[in-house]
Symmetry: C2
Subunit: 464 residues, 2 copies
């Protein structure tokens, strides 16, 4: 990719189009614009532009096209695979100023937002109005655009599905600066190719999502948590498919082990509620009627006790429930604080294969002499595993990381799984997607990329 028009000329055109306050160049661009949350991939952009409207994004796309300059979209930069890193320089499209909630449509149970709205802002807004925006990824400062780019999953996917299932409509800007209005206020649609779902999860490589119409639900009147300790991680994981077969659908089914709890306790300098078990399942059940939710959690608690749980704690005060879930939400930070550098595998396997997969990671950690703590949305078969550098020298670590990732992803595929459940491929996982996919599938993805971004300007070096 060569930048054929000088950066200076493009930045001047951007200033003319969007105003000087929307454009950063040179020393105004700090190192932070060149990496994401994990920081394993880094490259600074040549220009940062901060649009406020879809029309402004279209102008930027047209200028990037004309200059054949790479154009990479960034939300809050909370990704874990380098998806928002402008690895070839060029223009970084900072979506943080497109942060307006456009409106709630109560009759159709939808909310219309700009893509730069943060998840937490949207969730709070919906809740204040009596509605639930269901997708609940751990990172609450991520933008909705970022969630859509990676098809983020999160805690409540067991019952409510991932981000994809909540997206009714998208406004997308193409690299040529055309504006697409895909989907609608409608809940069903068989009117031509499903371009909306093609853009969801495409990590800014096919187009730029600028607005979304999202589904909300009436807020559940009751929500209760269950914390279930087990003496043995396998017993915990083998119980999960039985829960899903019970006919009672929990909102969330999370899994973590003693070591993650230990890192969290060290990080927060406080005891985890009901510390001391080898492994845990953490569930939420929600509904409209107290009696129903109560009956459901009693049934599931009994089911767990029949399958090797050592106890079952009902998180029946809002404080206790909030405390345990707040702990769960900061496991990533706690693991990060326990090491020098780390990288993540976001593997997903069929729900009945999580025990085999976690068992494999334990053996692999011993064999390679690295720590691989983690936790998982095991109601979805999705595990987040953090390979920790600790005291290894950088060159040894890079080799070890590749060995461990290769082994993890190969195992995931062997068990019928995939490279990424919800964090995407970005830059960091591209080689593993390539290595574990059929050539025909990669070829088909490349054809789609070529069709929609023929000059490879949109977030180059990502996915395929």
């Amino acid at each position: 990719m060569s930048v054929t028009t000088p950066i200076k000329s493009v930045s001047e055109q951007l200033i003319t189009a969007l105003g000087a306050q929307a454009v950063r160049t040179g020393d105004q661009i700090t190192a932070d614009w060149g990496h994401d949350e994990l920081g394993t991939v880094a490259h600074r952009p040549d220009i940062v532009v901060t649009p406020k409207t879809t029309t402004e994004v279209a102008k930027v796309a047209k200028l990037a096209s004309a200059a054949k300059m790479p154009l990479t979209t960034r939300g809050s930069g909370t990704g874990l695979v380098g998806g928002c890193v402008p690895t070839e320089g060029g223009i970084l499209l900072d979506m943080s100023a497109m942060n307006h909630i456009i409106g709630l449509d109560e009759a159709n149970l939808t909310v219309n937002v700009q893509a730069g709205v943060q998840l937490k802002t949207l969730a709070d807004y919906a809740q204040d109005k009596g509605y639930l925006y269901a997708p609940d990824p751990g990172e609450k400062t991520a933008t909705i655009g970022g969630n859509i780019a990676t098809n983020a999953g999160g805690m409540r996917a067991v019952k409510y599905g991932v981000t994809r299932e909540s997206v009714r409509a998208l406004t997308v800007v193409t690299i040529e600066g055309q504006v697409l209005h895909l989907g609608g206020q409608v809940v069903k649609n068989s009117s031509g190719f499903d371009l909306k779902d093609l853009y969801i999860g495409s990590e800014g490589t096919l187009g730029i999502v600028t607005e979304a119409v999202l589904k909300v639900s009436p807020l559940p009147k009751v929500s209760t948590g269950l914390l279930i300790p087990f003496d043995d991680f396998k017993a915990a994981l083998i119980t999960v498919p039985k829960i899903l077969q019970s006919g009672i659908l929990p909102t969330a089914v999370e899994f973590f082990e003693a070591d993650t709890v230990k890192y969290w306790e060290a990080f927060k300098k406080q005891a985890f509620p009901q510390s001391g078990a080898a492994a845990y399942l953490l569930m939420t059940l929600d509904g409209q009627q107290d009696a129903v939710v109560e009956q459901n959690y009693e049934t599931l608690a009994e089911l767990c006790l029949d399958n090797g749980a050592t106890d079952a704690y009902v998180l029946d005060t809002p404080e206790l429930k909030a405390n345990v879930w707040k702990a769960r939400d900061s496991f990533l930070e706690a693991i990060q604080a326990s090491t020098t550098t780390m990288d993540e595998a976001d593997a997903v396997v069929p729900c009945d294969q999580t025990a085999a997969f976690v068992s494999f990671t334990h053996d692999l950690a011993k064999q390679e002499n690295v720590r691989i703590p983690g936790f998982g949305h095991v109601g979805d078969g999705n595990l987040h595993l953090y390979v920790c550098q600790d005291d290894y020298a950088d060159d040894v670590w890079q080799k070890k990381l590749m060995t461990v990732f290769t082994a993890l992803y190969n195992k995931s595929i062997e068990l019928g799984g995939k490279v990424s459940g919800e964090h995407g491929i970005g830059y960091a996982k591209r080689q593993y997607l390539q290595a574990t996919s059929d050539a025909a599938e990669i070829d088909t993805m490349q054809r789609v990329k070529q069709a929609l971004d023929p000059n490879n300007l949109l977030n180059p070096d990502k996915i395929v």
Copy 2:
């Protein structure tokens, strides 16, 4: 599209590849192979080939590619928009022999099927094993491949979503004869472009779906119906968004008016249960606990009575419930029997716009002096409207039909809707999709088509 290799040579190659019993030509091809359920579009194929495996489909695709011969896929031929009609001749791929249920995976709540399995066969199989295959389109003899091709919706979409939401994985054959395995036994996936959803709803124009892994759920233990008569269709329709906002999610919310009931009574020569109202809502509620379902239907019945319903009948015996739903399932046939020829509009509008839309169709019917009876999945804003030819001469009818369709679709778009909610675009609705879509969206669809089927061999003349 010119057929550059003589039909005789291709059919001989097909016989060599698949055996003589799998290939029909000449007089062996009856007129039935050239039309679908409505029969408004007709063209006979040159060759009909009936594969049994994905490998055989790949062989057919390779031969079609080499010969540059159109290749159109047909399930049971129950479509309503000419989607399976080989309008340019060539090869018709008859999927009826790919009718094996490959297996149920109870631990992961999935069932693996060949694309030619009929909906009824799958639904019965799942039910016998204690599971629900949730999508429930009215036409039970349609194939699963056909349901996937159109992203069929059906009755239970209000609670369980449309076909798309039940598809975990697809096996797709490309026009070059490559075999793609998309998605998996996993419930989440952010591993590259979402090709699976791109193929779903693409009506055989991008690839050929040969197998699918479908989601099933534990069978609800309780299922009850509610039949709610209204004096006024508007009161019925205005109640629907209130039902959806109540926090109680019905499985199905169907709507029909007195005229449709009258055609059904004439067709079946029997009285409709609780005949005589101007309009009806028909709901199903399901769940795992009797008491919960009972409390829910009582709440919804009261809500309807507070909003103008004249009564509320609980369909609390299996016979009564089955009878009413069997009636609902044969409304299409009954309307068809009431006229000479008819064509359908499958419009979808936002849920709070159905009253305005139905009101418009009443006015339009008067203004154009045609009958437009129908019914609707109004929990999804989806209305099926049948424009009846009755005594009009063919030429007058064709003009009138275009006037009526244009008015209906324009109104649907004006209200924030789409041309098709679940039946697809096929051949018959292509002009209306074109007329009501932004040029940029059509252009993007054409680029995708060009990328995946560069010689326009897969089901040509459909969608775009």
